[in-house]
Symmetry: C2
Subunit: 110 residues, 2 copies
Amino acid sequence: MDVHSVDWEKMEWTPVRPGIQRKAFSGDGATLALHLLQPGHETRPHSHPHEQIVYIMSGLVDFHIGDSVVRLGPGGVAKIPGDVIHYAEVIGDQPVLNLDIFTPARPEYA
Amino acid sequence: MDVHSVDWEKMEWTPVRPGIQRKAFSGDGATLALHLLQPGHETRPHSHPHEQIVYIMSGLVDFHIGDSVVRLGPGGVAKIPGDVIHYAEVIGDQPVLNLDIFTPARPEYA
């Protein structure tokens, strides 16, 4: 069978907006989006109907989710329910590597 | 709001079978399962109705998916469609850290 596969090590980052870059992969049920967030990037609260699970791979971030704030470092995982306003705020001077898992899939990402 | 969140750095590994350990997190739409695979673990072909996206975080693995074999290193991502027989085979002498994303969710995992 033809396996849908990519190598993120060889894939270029896609610029999203200043200080935010993305690599993404879509299955039928979920989209994985690896985001690189630079310290000081403009925060932009937003929502979408998709559930988003965030998994922090490196760096330190405050995730503002509804009226809550969750500080996540490497290994931190959190659920953002659909339609809840949220944004990420980098803490400290290190970039944040954040894997987002969206359901349903967002094929427009990849 | 009450945010569903865990810290995988502080969570103990759950033994699955010899050579395989797991940490998991479920949302409503997806389950994330971080697997640590030791070289030489017994391979066990299996299938499930869930789609599974695999993301290799470290190590080298051959994923046998249906009649195909895909070699994945760090940054490698692949889709295993639902109901397709598959198994992972560690290549070399380093453990493999593999994040699996299942849709629909598998709440029995976490």
